[in-house]
């Protein structure tokens, strides 16, 4: 598969994206398999975007939005959270157990949290792979 092992990270340009930049500037290393797609708000991320990423073979999709209660557009991050949950359910519905969709709330000045999210998602994937 084309994207096997890839983590697609949809990053809100107000939070996840600058956090990822900071991680880079601090040379905090994280798994190379992460591909960031910049969005104006986590609320822009549609179910179909996440599903297409899985279709293309992504092992995980992470949506990074602002902390709950601090979305610049009030509800964008909570909507994203629900969509991510729905996508994860849809994967399970069709018997896909080894891939996952994850929501991460983050602030623009939290590079360590970004790295943790990347590392932990990789770890989840490893655990899922070993589960059977």
């Amino acid at each position: 598969m084309m994207m096997d092992g890839i983590i697609v990270a949809f990053c809100c340009e107000r939070s996840g994206y600058p956090a990822a930049d900071l991680a880079g500037r601090l040379r905090l290393h994280y798994p190379e398999n992460l591909r960031v797609i910049r969005v104006p708000c986590a609320g822009r991320v549609d179910v179909i975007h996440i599903m297409k990423a899985f279709e293309m073979g992504a092992s995980a999709v992470v949506v990074l939005g602002c902390e709950e209660g601090a979305c610049h557009h009030m509800t964008g991050n909570t909507r994203a959270r629900e969509r991510v949950r729905y996508c994860d359910t849809m994967l399970r519905e069709v018997g896909i157990e080894k891939r996952t969709a994850v929501m991460v709330n983050i602030s623009p000045n939290a590079p360590h949290k970004f790295v943790t999210a990347a590392v932990e998602t990789s770890k989840i994937l490893e655990d899922l792979r070993e589960a059977r």
Partner: protein
């Protein structure tokens, strides 16, 4: 109208100065934003996000947003490494002389590639990015660490710089500006906890200030025991260190909230940690805080009364001596980490600026306000105060106060209202 009266000098590029500058710039004024440091943001830019699973409303992210906005605004001219030397004239037509310290790294040319830091032979590095999210994003040369200050002929960084941004023989330069009004936003100093000797700050590694803890969390992302890998299991916060005492007849507004937010964050990350807060009066009022307090108050042990002495036991544990009010006797409790919630103090160099500008100082050491609308006006017409140089404020209050100062400038200089549709 004269061109100079359409421009404003903002002294201090902390959060309230930036807030003033942004508001003035968007209303059409040209802004000279003066900052003593090489980068902007002041204290507010050094705090970590304190969100647990909900936003703690610490406003750290608001600061990041505003900093970026400020450097990208076409009407804001940033003068870093600069201080005010002279001031004369009258409202609408002030003349100010600015001195800019030599900047060995040209901010216009530095692309933050990091090659200079990599090659710099000193430890710690003399040339580096002051913060990963420094605004502007430029490397800064610390003269004191540089080998050249020790008489050595090192030119490694200058030679490797791909954009030729580094130049050693730059001179300090001065320039005179004409401005219509001045906003003073020089901020505060954190209370020096060493002045309370009995609390052991600076002597015991396990005693930190709230600011140290903030910086630690910002830098490391996690809380580690100072000097070790272990996470502290028992943490005490001691409130009103440098507030509400003889030298500081005011409440610092921020310490109760930051202590509780840090406590909640610590408990959120390591739920087994025991957190105690010693306090006089808990300051829990303010929009958005009641919700947060309700969520976390049961996680924290609150003890009324402020300890006066901390001793370090042989084991390294810290013994805090406090008066147990409910039992009317002195008790001792041991902790792994003690955080002193240091308050906001007036800047000691405020006096210099006050002399140049002719401002009055209040007896608590902050700039004095003139009786008028709000608390932005000074005894000198055309000079306004913004933020914590006027008195303690949290970030949202500082942003508001900065915007408020802008309104006074607009009222003084007038904003031409363009006929709209």
């Amino acid at each position: 109208m004269k061109a100079e009266s359409r421009s404003v000098l903002v002294i201090g590029a902390g959060i309230s100065g930036i807030s003033s500058a942004l508001e003035l710039a968007s209303a059409g004024f040209g802004v000279h934003l003066l900052e003593r440091d090489a980068v902007i943001g002041g204290h507010a830019a050094s705090f970590p996000c304190k969100a647990t699973n909900i936003c703690a409303e610490c406003s750290a992210c608001v600061v990041s947003d505003k900093l970026r906005e400020a450097v990208q605004h076409p009407r804001i001219r940033l003068l870093t490494g600069s201080t005010l030397k002279e001031f004369r004239g009258e409202p609408g037509d002030f003349r100010v002389r600015i001195a800019q310290e030599p900047r060995y790294v040209d901010g216009e040319r530095c692309i933050a590639c990091g090659l200079c830091t990599d090659i710099c032979p000193t430890d710690p590095k003399a040339i580096c990015l002051p913060q990963a999210d420094a605004v502007p994003l430029i490397h800064v040369l610390d003269e004191k660490l540089c080998l050249r200050s020790k008489g050595k002929e090192c030119e490694l960084c200058r030679d490797i710089c791909p954009t030729k941004a580094i130049e050693f023989n730059r001179k300090r330069r001065e320039e005179e500006l004409s401005v219509g009004a001045v906003v003073v936003a020089t901020g505060f100093e954190v209370f020096d906890a060493k002045k309370k000797g009995s609390l052991g700050y600076g002597r015991y590694p396990g005693v930190l200030t709230g600011l140290d803890l903030e910086h630690l969390l910002r830098r490391e992302g996690v809380l580690r025991f100072p000097g070790g890998d272990k996470e502290p299991a028992r943490i005490a916060f001691i409130q009103c260190v440098g507030s509400r005492d003889e030298g500081h007849p005011y409440c610092s507004h921020v310490c109760c909230k930051y202590a509780m937010k840090l406590a909640a964050l610590i408990r959120h990350r390591s739920p087994d940690t025991l957190v105690t807060i010693f306090y006089i009066d808990l300051q829990t009022a303010g929009k958005g805080f009641a919700r947060f307090f309700d969520e976390y108050k049961s996680d924290i042990r609150f003890v009324r009364g402020v300890p006066v002495e901390i001793m370090q036991a042989a084991s390294g544990e810290l013994e805090v001596k406090f008066e147990d009010i409910s039992q009317g006797r002195v008790r001792r409790d041991t902790f792994d980490l003690v955080v002193l919630s240091v308050g906001i103090s007036p800047r000691t160099d405020s006096w210099d600026l006050a002399r140049i500008l002719g401002l009055d100082m209040a007896d608590d050491g902050f700039f004095d306000t003139a009786p008028s609308i709000g608390s932005n006006d000074t005894s000198v017409s055309g000079i306004f105060l913004a933020g914590t140089c006027q008195g303690p404020k949290d970030i949202p209050d500082s942003v508001a106060h900065g915007a408020a100062a802008a309104s006074r400038v607009m009222e003084l200089l007038g904003v031409p209202v363009q006929a709209g549709g």
